[in-house]
């Protein structure tokens, strides 16, 4: 319990908070004409030009050291930026994974040459990454991955298949968790991470259409893809430990609270009109806000732990499980509110946004670890496993 006991109210330093004014002014201008149902894609929205524009302003890889193109700022600076991006529904999907976890992973485990090669391009918004974890028979049971990299005279030969890989069809690189020794029954032993250039011969990427009609995730096939020696990131056989550290970055951010926030704001705008305001809607607005506020405070507290170099895995799981619950409550309860009314005078844009968010909401508690996996991690943190 000791780790959870220390999740205490923290504050964002003034220097990092000061970024907000600048980024908000930019977003008000950039997002002015984008309709809500498009902004509701949140961090699934894809726009390379937008990513490059952020890179020009120094807002990508802001936590990376200056020698690699970053700004050497703290995790709090990134928290402020990301919180604004998400609340405006900015199309951050292109660079999202690279900025959030691939870059930090390379920074933590990469060689000097790897850092010099990959990080500056991430900071410019020119190099996009995806995460190669899941496979057709390795979903929640990640340690059972079968994709294998076999040592060759010049590097590695990679064969196998990844699936549910977000944005693989738009990315330049994948950081894949693969087996480099032993067998699937060796579980956590013998796994490594490799950086795969997705333009190499033998790589096939096929988008999968999701239930909303979008194609944001893919299957990726590797047929004896020849990787050079320096494709290995970190130590051979340390893949499981590295992935665990990576998932702390993946799960701890404010994107686990704000996936439905564009819908909430759009509905609020309606509730603020004379025809939209009802006592029930006012109460619901307060309910959602009162659940989001402590979660935001917890997310800030986790960010504070990241700035101290800690890896708050259990806390992040706890906030993600609760946070995705609120993210799913928002479309469910807003639909109930709107369709409990006598009048059907609901703005079309609000309805379109509601429909989109209702469709994609199940993914909130699947991506980055399902509810059941997260609760298992919390139970382990409580000493029950």
């Amino acid at each position: 319990m000791s780790t959870l006991d220390s999740l205490n109210l923290s504050s964002i330093p003034a220097a990092d908070e000061a970024l907000r004014t600048e980024v908000r002014a930019f977003l008000i201008e950039a997002m002015r004409d984008v309709p809500a149902h498009v902004r509701a894609k949140s961090w699934s929205g894809y726009d390379p030009a937008f990513s490059r524009a952020l890179g020009k302003r120094g807002w990508l890889g802001i936590t990376f050291p200056k020698e690699y193109g970053g700004a050497g700022r703290s995790a709090f600076a990134r928290f402020v930026l990301v919180e604004e991006f998400l609340n405006f529904g900015a199309p951050v999907g292109s660079h999202w994974i690279a900025d959030r976890q691939s870059g930090p992973l390379i920074l933590k485990y990469g060689t000097l040459a790897q850092k010099q090669f990959y990080l500056p391009a991430i900071c410019r918004g020119e190099s996009f990454f995806c995460i190669g974890m899941s496979e057709p028979n390795s979903g929640s049971d990640l340690a059972s991955v079968k994709t294998r990299a076999v040592k060759t005279a010049t590097g590695w030969s990679l064969s196998g298949q990844k699936i549910w890989t977000t944005n693989a069809h738009h990315c330049h690189y994948m950081i894949a968790l693969v087996r480099t020794s032993g067998d699937p029954q060796d579980r956590h032993k013998g796994l490594s991470q490799v950086i795969v250039d997705l333009s190499l011969p033998g790589v096939t990427v096929r988008p999968i259409t999701d239930l909303s009609g979008d194609s944001h995730f893919c299957e990726v096939f590797f047929d004896e893809v020849q990787l050079t020696d320096d494709a290995l990131i970190g130590a051979e056989g340390q893949g499981w430990e590295q992935v665990t550290a990576e998932l702390a970055f993946e799960r701890s951010g404010p994107e686990r609270l704000y996936s439905s926030i564009v819908l909430f704001d759009q509905w609020l705008a309606f509730v603020r009109t004379p025809q939209g305001r009802t006592p029930e809607a006012v109460r619901l607005a307060g309910k959602i806000a009162s659940q989001l506020a402590p979660l935001r405070a917890m997310s800030v507290a986790i960010t504070e732990k990241l700035t101290r170099g800690e890896s708050p895995v259990v806390e992040a799981a706890l906030v993600k499980d609760l946070g995705t619950g609120v993210e799913q409550l928002i479309p469910a309860s807003i639909a109930d509110d709107l369709f409990s009314r006598e009048s059907a005078d609901i703005p079309l844009e609000l309805l379109q946004t509601l429909t989109y968010v209702t469709q994609v909401a199940p993914s909130y508690s699947l991506r980055g670890g399902t509810r059941d996996i997260l609760r298992g991690m919390i139970a382990r943190g409580l000493g029950l496993r």
Binding site: L7, L9, F264
Partner: protein, 335 residues
Amino acid sequence: MEDLLADALRQQLQDQCTTAVVRRIEASGDADALWAHIDNSGFADALVPEAQGGSGLSLREVLGLMSLCGRFTVPVPLAETMMARSVLAQTEGPDHPARGRITLAQGHLLPDGSLVCASVQLGRVSDAVLVSDAVRSWLLFTQDGQSASASFVLDANLHWSAQHMAITQPLAQHHDTRLLLACINAAQLSGALLAVFNNTLQYANDRVQFGKAIGKFQAIQHQLSLMAEHSFAAHMAAQLGCASDTASPDPVRVAVAKARTSEAALEVAGLSHSIHGAIGFTHEFDLQLFTRRLHAWRQAGGSESYWHTVLGEELVDQRRGLALDLIRSATDTTV
């Protein structure tokens, strides 16, 4: 300073406010001995300015003390008195007789001029009540009124006659007693929630069925994980409710704090009983001392829906633009 104070109170409550003592006071309604110990230690004056003989602490600094009142199911109005003495010291001047056990309540004047307060928190073991209606506040002594039992065992329905009200001066300032009660109950809930969670975790590790501790079963583990989530969200919410550098709470933050801790109270109370099974439903087992209070504190000072409406009115009627900006103002602190 705040840690030293909390350690001292924890030590004192461990020694003098055992569950056996809590049970005796609930049965007899006589809490004088426990109160004498606590009051002598000065905790009740923690929020009173130093110039008036108190410790001059801020709300932020006494959160730990109030949360311990929940953790130990303190059956005397320590948190309530702390808050009442604080507001009286701030507004009524140094000569005001803010001694003894003072609880907080909302009341209303009846057409005949008498005043009633329903379900006064710890009304049976209080010397006085800081009572407010919509416009006025009074400090009324329980011995001057009539007391009847209320739904929670140490609470009371109180009534002061028209004759008594005719000779009682309202206080110089109006105090929002519901806000004050909500602030302290959020803090007390956070302490009680962590206690219930820790006790249930311990029980799941100890209780053996089907040849192993029930905490080894995934279904129980997931219920405990959910309890942990709610308990720690409530812990953070209570910190927000007390995130003030003065002795006065901020209404928006208290709305968040009381709403979220009250929601957690319902969830955690239900899960704790589910995991304990029949033993947790007995009078003899201590769980009931906590879960009855989880429900009582959820209600007193406004349930979650009351505060949802307060926060919703702020968000819908008083604010424009992003919901984020309200959430930030409720969560950002400068310390």
